[in-house]
């Protein structure tokens, strides 16, 4: 079983490498043919990234954005889970607040960001509020579904054996909610970092979004692509080295039988 899984992993890694190589090749060919300032070759972008990493603020800016992503994800998960679980367990409250959730789901991200800056000022707090308000409704929807799907049979078992609240949450409730938490974290990551960039672009003096704004004003496409790609790589790293191993660890009981 283990060597088989290992070789499968290798094969899928090879597959990913091949597909990215083809994509880069297409990009290189198109850049070569168009021979335009607005589409630098992959090599030019790589050059920019290396130079920016050595002499420029690449890591600092990426770090600032990553920090915003992390903090706002934490806030959104905490508040969104609390609201979602509450609505999932209280059908009456859910019927009343459902339209609010739908409303917030459908407010465009840019509107929330602009209003947050207008009402709260051009500061970090407003930025985090804007990101959280964008993400919370998604977390609410997913966690509400999770709370609805809690199995009453396990709750009965916990009640009969008089489990303390802490033991019940840790052993009975959280493991059932875990797939939903994982789903909202993963979808949260891809959603939040895009919103963070807009937030930075509109009103922050640092971060990847700010740099993209800067390079946009200079019409420096290599800079824009360089920063964007760096951050994509960072997010892929988080996905492969943090989220996926965590998920596999939490699901180890499913691999048997």
């Amino acid at each position: 079983m283990a060597p088989n899984r290992h070789s499968k992993k290798l094969a899928s890694a090879g597959n990913i490498c091949a597909s990215f190589t083809v994509l880069t090749a297409i990009w290189a060919v198109v850049a070569c043919i168009s021979n335009s300032n607005t589409l630098p070759s992959p090599l030019a972008v790589l050059d920019f990234m290396v130079a920016e990493a050595i002499a420029g603020p690449l890591f600092l800016e990426t770090g600032a954005t990553l920090l915003r992503v992390g903090v706002s994800l934490l806030i959104s998960m905490a508040l969104g889970s609390a609201i979602g679980i509450f609505l999932g367990l209280r059908p009456a409250a859910d019927r009343f607040f459902d339209s609010w959730v739908v409303l917030f789901l459908n407010i465009p991200a840019v509107v929330v960001i602009v209003l947050a800056y207008v009402w709260l000022g051009l500061n970090e707090f407003a930025a985090l509020v804007a990101i959280a308000v964008n993400k919370i409704p998604n977390v609410v929807v997913v966690m509400r579904e999770g709370a609805r799907s809690l199995d009453p049979q396990y709750a009965d078992m916990a009640n009969v054996f008089r489990l303390t609240i802490a033991r019940k949450i840790r052993n009975v409730i959280l493991p059932q909610l875990y797939p939903f938490v994982a789903a909202s974290i993963r979808s949260g990551f891809s959603l939040i970092w895009k919103i963070v960039l807009v937030v930075e672009l509109l009103g922050r003096p640092n971060g990847v979004g700010f740099q993209i704004h800067l390079h946009f004003q200079l019409f420096d496409v290599a800079g824009i692509l360089g920063y964007a790609l760096t951050f994509v790589v960072v997010m892929l790293g988080v996905e492969f080295f943090l989220l996926q191993p965590a998920e596999q660890h939490a699901h180890r009981w499913r691999m048997h039988g």
């Binding site: 049979q153 396990y154 009965d156 078992m157 009640n159 009969v160 054996f161 008089r162 489990l163 033991r167 052993n171 009975v172 493991p175 009981w253 499913r254 048997h256 039988g257």
Partner: protein
């Protein structure tokens, strides 16, 4: 003494109609005795057990438990082991604070589940999972144990070994046991009291007290008891539903 009195228990069907599952059900399990509930399938035995366990409070009547109440344990029809916890973790989870560091080896060994203690429930056969569920209930050393067909769908050899084990634990720990079963021979073998339930709306239509000691219940004696219970069950079917019982006295 455990006193169960359910004046009425009604369910709302999906169509919105009210369905009376239980009406005028009253029985008492004396401390330290084993009582079995038998009755036609779908007659509300499991509902009765859930009410006795305090899991269902939407009924008219009362449940009176002995004072001071010791620990209550249950073995459900489905094993209800947490799939994300190993066998041992599942059993330990149920242990109350004062027993948390209890040595489980002897119990697990007696139930022949010592070697699967580190497996997850999905890796167990149904018979093993049922034994684990029984171990979880016995591990907390309950003073009242409720069992819902705990040995159903097990092979006879395993079932009878588990019955013996249950009796051992019962006699060494002075438990009171209330057990639902479909297996009349099982009831005849284990019970001090057999309550025969009628079809819906459920009530006790006959009680059989067995005073013969378990050790002297041989094959012939068990066959005789089973025959008695069968007669009781047939009576349960023909008893007119209109016959109304006095509602039980609310304390």
């Amino acid at each position: 003494m455990v006193e169960v009195c359910i004046d009425e228990k009604t369910f709302q069907t999906a169509g919105g109609a009210a369905l009376t599952a239980i009406r005028g059900l009253l029985f008492t399990v004396t401390k330290g005795r084993i009582a079995c509930l038998v009755g036609p399938s779908g007659c509300g035995k499991t509902t009765t057990l859930r009410i006795a366990l305090g899991l269902d409070r939407a009924f008219e009547g009362y449940i009176r438990l002995p004072e001071p109440m010791g620990r209550i344990a249950a073995v459900f029809q489905e094993h209800r082991l947490l799939p994300w916890r190993t066998v041992e973790q599942n059993i330990r989870l149920a242990l109350p604070g004062e027993l948390r560091n209890k040595n489980l080896t002897a119990l697990l060994d007696e139930l022949h589940i010592l070697e699967v203690a580190d497996l997850y429930p999905s890796e167990l056969s149904l018979g093993l999972a049922r034994r684990v569920a029984l171990a979880r209930a016995l591990a907390i050393e309950p003073s009242l144990l409720l069992l819902d067909e705990p040995f159903a769908s097990l092979d006879e050899e395993t079932a009878s070994r588990l019955r013996r084990l249950l009796l051992d634990q019962w006699s060494s720990h002075k438990m009171t046991i209330l057990m639902i079963t479909h297996d009349l021979a099982e009831a005849a073998q284990l019970a001090d009291d057999i309550f025969i339930l009628s079809e819906r709306p459920t009530r006790v239509c006959r009680t059989i007290h067995l005073d013969m000691p378990r050790s002297s219940r041989d094959a012939a004696a068990i066959a005789q008891i089973v025959e008695d219970v069968r007669i009781g069950l047939r009576e349960a079917k023909v008893t007119p539903l209109a016959q109304q019982e006095e509602p039980c006295q609310t304390p």
